[in-house]
């Protein structure tokens, strides 16, 4: 009884803080909608899909090449980061001797903490000149994918490692008792058991890759066109906002806010998917 009395003010306080945090999301969304309104009301949003190019000052607002570019970068980066990240996690959890493992874990944490602009700078001054020697202009979808891979690799590796560590000991013991080799234990028992954790880590990484701005802006070349080749320069939605927002007025500005709204909705969708997966895993 006594506990409940003490808890009450605390729970009210915590609840109001939580509501406040939730309200901020609503505020941001309504702000985006308000600013984007001139570009999306009265069917004006159709020009985003119908126009075949992005020249806002000439009245053309086609953003589909940028959506495709953002998706291509993200998918490419995930395709590279997933096998690398999961292998790192397996090494970390099952094979690495304790001192190596802790150094490796520290390195992954550091990698996760490097500001994105540093990755961008490295990409622009080291990676891009390398690609130029192979295929001009160097700044390209490929450069963006490689830089993004580096950035999301620690997320994938660390969440996968956490998921693998959380697999119940009985499962491992059971697998061992059945006479499975280490390799089969990992491939057939542990990875399936840790699947949900790994996937939700991947979704986090996808959200980070989609939202990444500065590094992508520096290495992707920023030409608005469909990503038809790995060596073609492309522009991501985020880079578009950062490149033009400071200078945009009128419908141009509203168009940029509309692409920001779209991006936010995409990331929210991913977050929702991730949380659904997690609750499913808890129930199952």
């Amino acid at each position: 009884m006594l506990n409940k009395h003490i808890d009450k003010p605390v729970s009210v306080l915590l609840m109001s803080i939580a509501v406040l945090c939730g309200l901020i999301l609503l505020l941001v969304l309504s702000f985006l909608v308000k600013e984007a309104w001139p570009a999306i009301n009265d069917g004006a949003w159709r020009s985003f899909l119908v126009d075949d190019a992005w020249y806002p000052l000439e009245g053309l607002f086609g953003i589909s090449p940028m959506i495709l570019a953002s998706l291509a970068m993200t998918v490419g980066a995930i395709l590279l980061a997933l096998p690398l990240g999961v292998s790192s996690a397996i090494f970390l959890v099952f094979y690495a001797p304790a001192p190596v493992g802790s150094v490796y874990r520290l390195m992954l944490n550091l990698l996760a903490g490097i500001p994105s602009v540093i990755y961008g700078l490295w990409g622009l001054t080291k990676l891009v000149p390398l690609i130029v020697q192979w295929q001009a202009p160097g700044v390209s979808l490929l450069a963006a994918i490689l830089v993004l891979t580096l950035m999301i690799l620690p997320t994938v590796a660390l969440t996968s490692a956490a998921a693998l560590t959380a697999v119940p000991q009985e499962l491992i013991a059971g697998a061992a008792a059945l006479g499975l080799t280490r390799k089969s234990q990992i491939l057939l028992v542990l990875i399936p058991a840790a699947k949900t954790g790994i996937i939700s880590g991947v979704l986090l990484a996808v959200a980070r890759a989609l939202g990444e701005t500065m590094a992508v802006l520096m290495v992707a070349g920023n030409v608005v066109q469909n990503p038809t080749s790995l060596f073609a320069p492309v522009r991501a939605l985020t880079a578009n906002i950062a490149l033009e927002m400071a200078y945009a007025t009128g419908t141009h500005r509203a168009g940029l806010f509309a692409s920001g709204l779209l991006l936010t909705l995409l990331v929210l969708l991913l977050a929702w998917l991730a949380s659904r997966l997690r609750s499913q895993a808890q129930r199952g």
């Binding site: 806002p56 891009v128 070349g221 920023n222 320069p233 200078y247």
Partner: protein, 271 residues
């Protein structure tokens, strides 16, 4: 990035602050992001010398500077270009000059390009340096993102529309342009003359091309010979407030020449 964040913050704060201004010791300037860093330094100096004066500087492009000055949202607008015929209701005060220079990679043997060649390169009609007397190397065209006043000036000078340009790389600021060209032997781009001259002097792997027979140097921008140049203007509508007028006079005085040169712009008037 910091600049972009600042701009976003400025946008967010904008609606809040709009009501509270126009007191006699507060000055508000908005506009060109080329002019803003320079004005920011001048404002710091001015605030130090005049107690109690507060100067707000916000970016948002030359067009916003013109609009805000016209609507009275700012005391002074900043514009990194000449006023258009439709903007003659405003009065410009030139505080400095800026030139735009064509830059190539240092290893590129091409030493000059005609206006027609540059236009053809940017339109994608010339693909290889071989066609203009250089090596057998594909050309990488570096263009600026839409809305930048550098792009506007470039397009106007070469009578191009942005949609005609076949760019391989689109960049935001001068530094990104310089790094992009320095990292690609086949690249051609355009950036502020002052920045390019400084980077060239530091040994960055770029070189500037002459325009219309004049070398791209700060001196040629200052004496007005360099064709691809623009004024950095403060614009006001009607009679500026006494404080605004004092600040404009300050921004045109010799006292700020050091600040102007430190940002690689060119002071107006005799050398």
């Amino acid at each position: 990035m910091k600049k972009n964040v600042l701009c976003l913050c400025a946008l967010l704060c904008f609606s809040v602050q709009q009501g509270a201004m126009a007191s006699s010791d507060r000055l508000r300037l908005t506009g060109s992001s080329t002019v803003a860093p320079l004005i920011l330094e001048m404002a710091k100096m001015y605030e130090k010398e005049h107690d109690g004066v507060r100067i707000d500087v916000q970016t948002g492009g030359s067009s916003r500077g013109v609009n805000d000055a016209r609507l009275g949202l700012a005391d002074i607008g900043m514009a990194s270009r000449e006023l258009k015929p439709s903007e003659q209701d405003l009065k410009p005060y030139t505080i400095a000059m800026d030139g735009i220079g064509i830059i190539l990679h240092r290893s590129n043997p091409v030493t000059a390009l005609s206006q027609r060649q540059i236009t053809a390169i940017y339109k994608g009609n010339i693909h290889n340096w071989r066609e203009v007397g250089g090596e057998d190397l594909p050309i990488t065209v570096v263009n600026k993102a839409e809305g930048h006043s550098t792009l506007e000036l470039f397009l106007k000078y070469f009578s191009l529309k942005n949609s005609q340009i076949k760019a391989h790389v689109v960049i935001g600021d001068n530094q990104q342009g310089i790094k992009t060209v320095a990292g690609n032997p086949g690249a051609i781009g355009y950036v502020s003359v002052g920045t390019a001259q400084y980077e060239e002097g530091r040994g960055t792997a770029i070189k500037q091309l002459p325009m219309g027979g004049y070398a791209a140097t700060v001196a040629n921008v200052q004496n007005g010979f360099f064709p691809l140049s623009r004024p950095l203007n403060l614009v006001v509508k009607g009679e500026p407030s006494p404080l605004a007028m004092r600040f404009i006079k300050f921004a045109q005085s010799d006292a700020v020449h050091g600040l102007i040169k430190a940002q690689f712009f060119v002071p107006v008037g005799p050398l």
